[in-house]
Symmetry: C2
Subunit: 150 residues, 2 copies
DNA sequence: GGCTTAATCTATCAATCTGGTAGAGTAGTA
DNA sequence: TACTACTCTACCAGATTGATAGATTAAGCC
């Protein structure tokens, strides 16, 4: 499961994606709109700024804003930033790779083999899950009949 | 990432799957072979017994053993037992479903939509990742040239 | 220049989870 | 009945999670 911090980050990013190229948005506004504790959100936005996803402007008329196109920000990147590896086992991760000390020959490990497949599938989907993809799907859902109604 | 506890459980289960229908195996033997702290392993095996995956026999000649065919024990089940939901978001889980309180209409949520797809793919793969599948893959790896060598 | 605004930094905190240890108790088997 | 091996209870250190408080710095405006 992703942490609340990551979920808050995603909520904030989607909020800012909807306001893309519309100037800075106040932390307080995002916090109110998305029901995120403001002080907690401040720390999150700061991390997203350090990761070069957001930028900020101080003083009156200031706030945070996206500095990348919404299709260039994926859930894979956000999750890695806050929660670390996407892989379920350290020995199947790429950036965060770590070998299992108990494992003699990693390349003959059946456990690693099956979890590698899971990782590959998850990474592929999460890379395609960009902010613009989320917005696109929201629009699609609005224009569809409610689920279960036929 | 899965917890060490879950990883230990998987290691122990694969060990017992290799000894399927060969009688009880000592906790101490599994602990030694798989480098798992014995006392910690005891708690794990006890949980697997309560989950009706293992059974135990006391006294001399006792130990733990699988009571299901190896193809009937999946990583999905083991992970849910020790680490809870497989879904990345509570609102996309089935058994562990929980709605996001900040969400007005869940069925119009784009975030939920993309994470539902991830969950479905992950669950499908983890259900197919049974103990016998792990053993089958280990055998396949043994009969293959080493990766990177051509 | 001084005031206001708003981001930034530092510190702290309770609660929970994780991984692990110790030891007493209980029950089956030879 | 003695031995073996599982079972239960309790405890613990350290890390992580989610959150709060307050001080500081920088930008814009009159």
């Amino acid at each position: 499961m992703i942490s609340k911090k990551t979920k808050y980050a995603i909520n904030a990013l989607v909020y800012l994606a909807r306001r893309w190229e519309q100037g800075p948005v106040l932390i307080s506004e995002i916090a109110r709109a998305e029901s995120i504790p403001q002080k907690f959100l401040e720390a999150i936005l700061l991390e997203l700024k350090r990761a070069q996803i957001l930028a900020s402007k101080k003083g009156k008329g200031g706030g945070y804003f996206l500095i990348r196109a919404p299709q260039e920000v994926s859930m894979a990147e956000v999750m890695r930033l806050f929660d670390g590896p996407i892989a379920l086992l350290p020995c199947t991760a790429h950036r965060y790779y770590e070998r299992c000390e108990e494992c003699r020959n990693e390349h003959l490990c059946g456990i690693r083999d099956v979890f590698s497949v899971v990782r590959a599938a998850t990474v592929r989907l999460l890379k395609n899950a960009t902010l613009s993809e989320i917005m696109r799907r929201e629009e699609a859902l609005r224009n569809q009949p409610l689920p279960g109604e036929f």
